[in-house]
Symmetry: C2
Subunit: 341 residues, 2 copies
DNA sequence: GTTTTGTGCTAAATCAATTTAGCAACGATC
DNA sequence: GATCGTTGCTAAATTGATTTAGCACAAAAC
């Protein structure tokens, strides 16, 4: 209401207003068990606190308790990637639900920035640390704080900190099953990453995705026409690979694309051959970026559940959930229009 | 190095190690002018601090100084939009440059969440507040803290808080000039928003964009064939409008699209008429979303400078820059392939 | 009637910093 | 020789919460 020049309301103000001591007020407002204050006192204090609009000073609490009710989130990329923001949303939501706030830092993938960020968050005394990565890989991280929980999202590290990962295995199986349902017989894989082949251990996400896909295909009625490799996972690469595939005379019943950007390129190549996804053949993909909804026909894809991963990471560091090893998160199939009936 | 069970190093530890008092250590480490400590003492203290790896406890500093070196950022959307993350990047960078950290909150556009976020940040005693909006509009906000600086990004409010806005006027002029350069004579505008027409004051961003465009066209040799209105600014809408425009027999030298998603739809419609942007006609657009780079040919567009706006917002609340009225940020033309020579 | 137990509450210490007022020692001034 | 000024440094107060140890009084037990 009235703003006045009033300083913030402190515990002492509430104490004075209610005729109690600071100790009593603190005890009452925090519902300390075992402290036997009269019902009348409790009522007086509660009312005074309410009336004055008392809010505890977080800095003072942190100092006294050694806890800041703050989580640190270090991301390698916030801007560039289409996913970090989804992860942040999940983290913010879960943190807010647990009365925590989140300090966010960005490293642009530079190790020096990571060290700086760690130092900064350590100094701010965060209660837990979440390290988010936009591509899945085995990392060698600098020394992390040992006195508070740490969790990695979307990567592993050599020191084997707990991690939250998308369940690529199940996703691969699901993709193949979905295509098998449509009665498809032949399928082409666009495209494994050339760089990834050479060092599978450093790209576990990518490697897993293709290993899972291959294994699922082996156990299905589908016939794999081949895998078309790419330099990178961008539309231009998908376009090149798909054009090549079609030029070789292949006419698969279904295309499995490495991700949505690759699928976007594939769409362009298919259009040039007058082939329409969802009608002439099925296209299924991974990630569920925004463009998946923009493409026509809209792209059916298996989502990277970044928001859920963020939520899970928070719960993990707050000790509300298993906090060790690798925690797998389901990748949901987003059914749109690019898979035939 | 050795982690030990050691508690954190405090000022008192440094004092003891250097044989000085806490007061002296504080004075020295903060370079207080006017405090005349011997060079020898300064050296001893500095060395001890370095050796022990002393980092001040932020909570204690905040409590004592009443400043938290923390900024609050409240965004209506983090996930959904393609821009919030760019803004966050700018904010994080500028904040880090000024030794501040950022607390981020998301309201999902719900007023109740906004009130909650404000309360939370007030409680955390942020030194300044940035309110970011993903669509530009006139807002009626709840009571904001009056004792610390507040700035809005990409919106105005009825209470007239300082704001940071993209310079749509200059952008409109620039778009028209660029097309005039190519020798284009006729141009079509795809598309004004039907909803916006009815209440211009509530969509200043959109309104400005079109007002600026119209005015710039009036002062140019270009002939405006017409404006095609849309329900929304999505690819499907752009497709519909462009198809309609072409069906009416128009063959403009240039298309000005409301934003990149609309342009994406326009591309599809043009492709169906065998028209190629950058060759058969020019297409220019606004926003510079990621898809602008994915389209083929790549889309020339005038960027919404969200990162710069974030940077500016931080400088504004930190008092390093004018902190009043409306601060306009340049919208840079991102030259790609969709404008003819 | 004295001791014990329990009830209701509070004074004071604590967390880790910053800052003010001022002490002690020494040389300079009158 | 007393006074003053300067230099180099520190004790103690302060910030706003939490928590421990314990006080004063009343009822119960012996």
């Amino acid at each position: 209401m009235s703003a006045e020049k009033s300083k913030r309301v402190t515990l002492a103000d509430v104490a004075e207003a209610s005729g109690m001591s600071k100790a009593s007020v603190s005890l009452i407002l925090n519902n300390r068990p075992g402290s036997r204050l009269s019902a009348a006192a409790v009522k007086r204090v509660r009312e005074a606190a309410e009336r004055l609009g008392y809010r505890p000073n977080v800095a003072a609490q942190s100092l006294r308790l050694g806890k800041t009710r703050t989580l640190g989130f270090i991301s390698d990329q916030v801007t560039v990637t289409r996913f970090a923001s989804a992860m942040i949303t999940g983290i913010l939501r879960a943190a807010a639900d647990n009365d925590h706030t989140v300090l966010i830092t960005e490293t642009r993938g530079e190790p020096a920035e990571l060290t700086k960020a760690l130092d900064q968050l350590r100094q701010r005394d965060v209660d837990g640390l979440i390290l988010g990565f936009m591509d899945s890989r085995l990392r060698d991280l600098p020394e992390l704080p040992e006195d508070r929980p740490v969790v990695l999202v979307n990567s592993h590290d050599v020191q084997q900190h707990p991690s939250v990962m998308p369940d690529e295995n199940a996703a691969g199986r699901q993709a193949v099953e979905r295509l098998a349902q449509t009665g498809a017989r032949t399928v082409a894989l666009v495209g494994a990453l050339r760089a990834a082949q050479s060092s599978p251990e450093s790209y576990p996400g990518i490697t897993r995705r293709f290993a899972a896909l291959n294994q699922a295909l082996d156990n299905s009625p589908l016939h794999l026409l081949g895998q078309w490799e790419l330099e990178d996972w961008n539309p231009a690469d998908g376009y090149v690979a798909t054009t090549q595939l079609l030029a070789q005379g292949h006419r698969p019943d279904a295309l499995i694309c490495a991700n949505d950007r690759v699928a976007m390129g594939a769409y362009q190549a298919l259009a040039e051959h007058r082939l329409t996804p969802g009608a002439d053949l099925s296209v299924i993909s991974f990630d569920d970026e925004v463009i998946a909804g923009y493409l026509r026909p809209q792209l059916t894809t298996i989502a990277l559940p970044y928001e859920q991963m963020g939520v899970r990471a928070v719960r993990s560091v707050l000790g509300q959930q298993e906090h060790s090893g690798e925690q797998l998160i389901d990748m949901p199939l987003i059914e749109r229009q690019s898979v035939r009936d």
